[in-house]
Symmetry: C2
DNA sequence: GAAAGAATGCTAAAAAGTTACATTTGGTGC
DNA sequence: GCACCAAATGTAACTTTTTAGCATTCTTTC
């Protein structure tokens, strides 16, 4: 399964080298083999973890026992905030995707650290607000927009602002998962977009001949959209 | 329209009297009459606002121009975080609901303040993470659960943990709005719950004779649910 | 206690989404 | 290059939800 790249900012974008070093020094680095479990949903271990090299996949177990990946965690990304600040157990099971090194910082140690270095909690606050905003605007779009528009929104997000055209390599099933509907529904939505020549579908890929036109289409559907 | 109460924590739950005083002193108090507009979607004014007395309603403008309330902001609640930390324009239009006093703190002033008082950004971080967690678990439920189960979940959230039974005063339309479906669909879902004697519907109210039974029903539908 | 307004109930048709199964596509080994 | 297999997409029947209209029931108020 393809997990779409998150283009989000990271802690390291907000912290100076000095602070980062202090932060890293507070943790214990651990290596994981490809596929190895890093944490399990429900685990009580509390603290912040930072991916150093490699990547990890956060997943949930579906009702039928199948494993449903939900996010790709890349170098510089953190997880464990809920356990550290909200006293909640781990909400996802996380696996290493390829050989991966992760730095774990114990809760108490981390809390002491942000006491000493206020920049850390401010950086985390900014990141969390960003994520929050993203969640809210997704929720909002999903309410107001038709499925073709939501698909268009997702496709647009995969392009950099300046790209005029391009091909996205992904299966319809991946899009379906991200949006939270069935593959068939996505297929129909893609048909509708294709009927307006906004996209061209292929086997395992989708070509967008004119990103500007697609954005214009989305704006027509969603006047409030600022994206 | 009834807007469901948020039972969330507030900044004041995390900050000492001293810090709170400093925070309040940094702002300028402003009074609003009932219905007066406090901010408008798109406004560029940056800073944090804290409700002191009264309450405010955050709303969005629907596609048809109708005003759709989306949250009730109560004393102690804050808004404006996105504008302060993410450089985004105001995402909602906010009206005073009854005579309301609000303390506005300018962005630069606020940033200087959290530099001096790290406890503030840490408190905000905790609050934001909490909200984040709520959003994620909602998103998740909505994906996996049938409509009756989602309705049940919403009803359960209205009770305190200890309450064994009770009546919720709300229109089906309010439930529909919160879940994001039509009133008719909610009506049918309520019928299904009523058929299992989990609830009793009334005019503008819903009675839950046994919250434990309702929770049990929800858990049956959603094994992952911890709520 | 009648009238007006508010909320729910009901119906039917259309739209959107799901499930299960069929077909097409692209790679692999020979 | 061809036969085959797995992966990805397409199709069709079915279910859920929406929309929209009107009917009914409940509450408040005069």
């Amino acid at each position: 399964m393809k997990v779409f790249r998150k283009k989000n900012k990271k802690l390291s974008d907000f912290l100076s080298e000095d602070v980062l070093e202090v932060l890293y020094a507070a943790g214990r680095e651990q290596s994981y083999d490809d596929g190895e479990m890093i944490q399990q949903r429900g685990d009580k271990w509390r603290g912040i973890s930072i991916v150093q090299t490699g990547e990890a996949i956060a997943a949930n177990v579906g009702r039928d026992g199948s494993i449903v990946p939900s996010a790709l965690i890349k170098p510089g990304d953190t997880f464990g905030e809920f356990t550290t600040f909200l006293d909640l157990p781990r909400s996802h099971t996380i696996f290493a995707n390829g050989r991966t090194k992760i730095r774990h910082i114990k809760r108490d140690r981390f809390l002491a650290l942000i006491e000493a270095e206020p920049a850390i909690s401010q950086a985390m606050l900014t990141l969390t607000l960003e994520r929050n905003y993203e969640l809210v605007s997704n929720l909002d779009s999903n309410r107001r927009l038709s499925l073709p528009a939501r698909v268009a929104r997702l496709l647009i997000a995969e392009f950099d602002k300046t790209e005029k055209a391009g091909t996205i390599v992904c299966r319809q099933e991946d899009l379906a998962f991200m949006i939270g509907v069935s593959r068939v529904a996505v297929g129909k939505a893609l048909d509708k977009l294709a009927a307006q020549s906004l996209i061209e579908t292929g086997y395992g890929k989708i070509h967008v001949p004119d990103t500007v036109a697609l954005k214009k289409y989305l704006r027509r559907q969603d006047p409030l959209s600022s994206t």
